[in-house]
């Protein structure tokens, strides 16, 4: 997609966050904290980084994105609506019976979903296979995988990581939404992930760290990656779970809580 000026992308992020609040409160369910955490990463990808033609999504040469943290689907649907891949009005059907927008990604229902995630630790291996397919078939597309940080407790992530380095898929870019919270509590309290940079480095990755809410920094960091260096990439994006709404930010309980009553207006006002 053609890249927009940062100020316009920031406005997109605001719109998406407001829609997350509206959509989740309308649905009466949703992973609000996880949705808000990832929005700046998603807008950086979908309004700047990803090479894809809206009118030719079947193009085998286009970039791929896998939402490995499938519970962040609310943020993703709102991003797809903002980018015009799905109708904004369809957000009203989120989580309804047999809806086109169920609570985790379903490839058969929504454009730009590659993998039906929701069970954690699946995206990276599939990303490795996709990246490898590009190498083997002489295509130059890139594969982006967005994982949660709690998700990194899954052993399958590290099977995938080991093989990414083994297969030298330097067209693979993993982004970790490092908000330091998982379902019940801090990651470091439940099962420590740190030192995270050293772990990825030891697995053979090219490791970058960014402010996961600084859209320009995310875009610049990705642009500067060496895609011929023989090393897969990971970007540790420091984020705040529930980013943008004061009473949701950095609170574990908001992993899958939704705003009710006057909280909705209060949240929307904060996001203006």
């Amino acid at each position: 997609m053609s890249s927009l000026p940062i100020s316009q992308i920031e406005q997109k992020a605001k719109n998406i966050r407001k829609n997350v609040i509206r959509m989740n409160s309308h649905a009466g369910q949703g992973h609000t904290g996880a949705d808000l955490s990832e929005v700046d990463i998603l807008v950086a990808l979908f309004f700047s980084v990803l090479k894809l033609d809206k009118n030719n999504l079947d193009d085998p040469g286009r970039d791929r994105f896998i939402l490995s943290k499938g519970h962040g689907i609310g943020g993703f649907y709102c991003t797809l609506a903002e980018a015009g891949f799905i109708d904004e009005s369809s957000l009203e059907t989120y989580l309804q019976f047999d809806s086109q927008l169920p609570g985790h990604p379903v490839r058969q229902k929504t454009p730009l979903i590659e993998l039906n995630t929701g069970a954690l630790g699946h995206g990276l291996s599939v990303g490795v296979g996709l990246a490898l397919s590009a190498k083997l078939s002489g295509r130059d597309f890139r594969v982006f995988v967005l994982t949660g940080d709690g998700e990194l407790q899954e052993g399958s992530v590290w099977e995938g990581a080991m093989s990414a380095a083994g297969f030298k898929v330097d067209n693979l870019i993993v982004i970790v939404d490092r908000n330091t919270l998982q379902l019940a509590d801090r990651t470091e309290k439940i099962m420590p992930l740190e030192p995270l940079e050293a772990k990825w480095e030891a697995f053979g990755f090219d490791v970058k760290s960014v402010d996961g809410h600084d859209i320009a920094e995310i875009i610049e960091t990705i642009a500067a990656l060496d895609l011929n260096g023989g090393q897969p990439h990971v970007i540790l994006a420091r984020t705040i779970k529930g980013k943008g709404v004061s009473f949701i930010e950095d609170r574990a309980a908001w992993h899958h809580k939704i705003p009710v009553d006057d909280q909705v207006m209060k949240a929307i006002r904060e996001l203006e």
């Binding site: 039906n116 990276l124 490795v128 399958s156 099977e159 995938g160 093989s163």
Partner: protein, 330 residues
């Protein structure tokens, strides 16, 4: 056991892969340190870029295969069935079946093929577990000819397929003219008194047993149920309605395998028939040891099937005689 030519089913598999690539199939075979298990060497020599070895990491094996399929490959996994089925179960469920990717899962050395290596290496639950998943075709070839046919079908079929594979040399039950048909039960031999319904690499045991039973005056029909899903319910009903007696034979747990499927058909369709199920005892791990002895223990070898067939017929006759006596005494 009868003589005759035998071929290793994995050699058939590898030759089928080679021919498929020659015919233009964009094939990638993913193995997990299972290059010897899959006897992949002749294929790898010809097409080194089409063999992906992920090491001992079954979850990643299936995930990488899924990624390759999303990138346009017909992705085939080739590793030992017990590890595929259990270790990577969630990848099979979500990434292959639910996502509906073009991945063919080959469960090598299924059943008690690994004999003495014991239950960690036995896959006596693969048909049951795969049937618990949505959106996957489930097949089990019976001999070298059908192995080739089924693999050719799988590579051309768009979507998830599981193939229960065996290793070692197996006898031929089909001529080169045989054509596998998805969702069709094959009548390998026609009979009137008894139906033997078998799946996979014990079909030949049933086939040879039928020959022996015929010599003993029991007209025996043999069904090769190589297509477990979709299943030819009508074909099975036709056979058992005719013979009124059926013995199911599988190197699989009696939980969730062929015997269970045929029990469902019998009860749902109200067919009046005597049923005897031969397989691994429900709720137990399989015995370990030489495979022939395991088969003998569970009566899924030729001799065991013959004995079971005679038993079932005698049971029937005993019941009839008993009833006649009762009638006479009234």
């Amino acid at each position: 056991m009868e003589g005759g030519e035998r071929t290793d089913l994995r050699e058939v598999m590898i030759q089928t892969f080679i021919r498929a690539v020659e015919e233009g199939v964009n094939l990638a075979v993913v193995v997990g340190d299972s290059t010897s298990t899959s006897k992949i060497a002749p294929f790898r020599e010809k097409y080194p870029d089409r063999v992906i070895d992920v090491g001992i990491a079954e979850q990643n094996l299936v995930g990488v295969a899924v990624g390759l399929s999303l990138g346009g490959y017909v992705a085939v996994t080739a590793n030992a069935a017990p590890f595929l089925i259990s270790r990577s179960n969630e990848q099979v469920k979500n990434d292959v079946c639910y996502t509906d990717t073009n991945v063919k899962l080959l469960g090598l050395n299924a059943g008690v093929c690994y004999g003495s290596l014991a239950s960690t290496h036995h896959a006596i639950d693969d048909l049951s577990i795969m049937q618990g998943l949505g959106n996957i075709v489930i097949l089990a070839p019976s001999d070298p000819v059908e192995t080739e046919q089924i693999l050719q079908f799988a590579l051309k079929h768009r979507g998830p397929v599981y193939v229960r594979m065996d290793s070692g040399k197996f006898p031929y039950l089909h001529t080169a003219e045989y054509k596998f048909e998805l969702g069709a039960v094959e009548v390998l031999h026609e009979g009137r008194d008894l139906t033997l319904a078998a799946v996979g690499s014990v079909v030949y045991e049933a086939f040879y047993a039928a020959g022996e039973l015929e010599e003993k005056g029991i007209s025996t029909e043999v069904l090769n149920v190589s297509s477990i899903r979709p299943l030819d319910e009508q074909g099975i009903v036709e056979s058992i309605s005719k013979t009124k007696r059926v013995i199911t034979v599988e190197e699989h747990s009696l939980h969730g395998g062929l015997g269970a499927l045929i029990s469902e058909i019998i009860s749902e369709q109200g067919v009046s028939v005597e049923l005897l199920r031969l397989g691994i005892t429900k709720g137990q791990f399989s015995k370990a040891g030489p495979r022939e002895q395991i088969r003998a223990y569970y009566r899924i070898d030729q001799k065991g099937i013959v004995n079971a067939g005679q038993e079932l017929l005698n049971r029937r006759h005993a019941w009839r005689n008993n009833k006649n006596e009762q009638a006479a005494s009234v």
